[in-house]
Amino acid sequence: MSTISTNPTPKPGTPVETVLVVEDEILIRHVIADYLRECGYRVFEAVNADEAVAMIETPEISIDIVFSDVQMPGSMDGFALARWIRANKKGIQVILTSGVERSADIAATLCEAGPLLEKPYEPQGVIERIRQLTANAGAGQMQARSDKT
């Protein structure tokens, strides 16, 4: 099996982040993954948290952002996946989405981006959340650099 192709050189102004979409409903996953690709993101897909962990732990793949549903079949739900990422892969940002309202409070404690994105969401809302996350991450890095000087 050959290795995963390296990221092509992005055009100026296009996003450089790689997003992992974790969603068990194939048609929902396809719509949001396709939209993110149209917006210039490199996107991988996983049908549950176990697959997501396998992808994240693959050395050839570098994931920047995980966009995950909360309710999923398998050994972990979206919350457990977010906790695993927080414990094991601190560089990866997580955005959770759910149709269950009471999930919002739990998500707020797990995601740097704030409360979870409620379903049904607009794809543009996902893009805005990703931009917000990456902007915050960039600001955090600049703050860390200025603290060192």
């Binding site: 050959s2 396809h30 690709r37 049908v47 992808m55």
Partner: protein, 138 residues
């Protein structure tokens, strides 16, 4: 100019490929490479997911792993596509020998790709099956 002699070529839409494979790394590798080749790719981890896609949208080619979890394997899915007369090409991937598959000699489901395969082989086979080359302006 005589308008009746003007030939209008339809916009060339990329073919839609449905990759059906339960191993996420293999599925991602194959799908990512196919997208790099200009195809529109959907990913399914099971036959149920694949059928949900087939019920919803047009697919030009299915790349199916024969060994899949659940009640139905990849051969069942390929036979379903043929039984429904869905106008899609099929490519099947397997690590099994012909005898182990137990296929009748007169059953033509499509070309088989033996595992382990190179991802580039998948792209070549798909491109050849669909007579597709990536647009030069892409």
């Amino acid at each position: 100019m005589n308008a009746s002699k003007v030939t209008v070529f339809p916009r060339r839409e990329p073919p839609v490929i449905l990759v059906v494979e339960d191993d996420v790394i293999t599925r991602s590798l194959v799908s990512d490479e196919l997208r790099s080749g200009g195809f529109k790719v959907l990913e399914a981890a099971s036959t149920d997911d694949a059928v949900a896609v087939l019920d919803t949208m047009r697919v030009d080619l299915l790349f199916i792993a024969i060994r899949l979890p659940g009640a139905h394997n990849g051969l069942d899915l390929a036979r379903l596509v043929r039984a429904r007369a869905i106008p899609a090409k099929l490519i099947l991937a397997t690590g099994m020998e012909d005898e182990a598959l137990g296929l009748p000699k007169d059953e033509d489901l499509g070309p088989f790709l033996r595992k382990p395969y190179q991802v580039s082989q998948v792209v070549e086979l798909v491109s050849h099956s669909l007579n597709w080359s990536e647009p030069a302006d892409k």
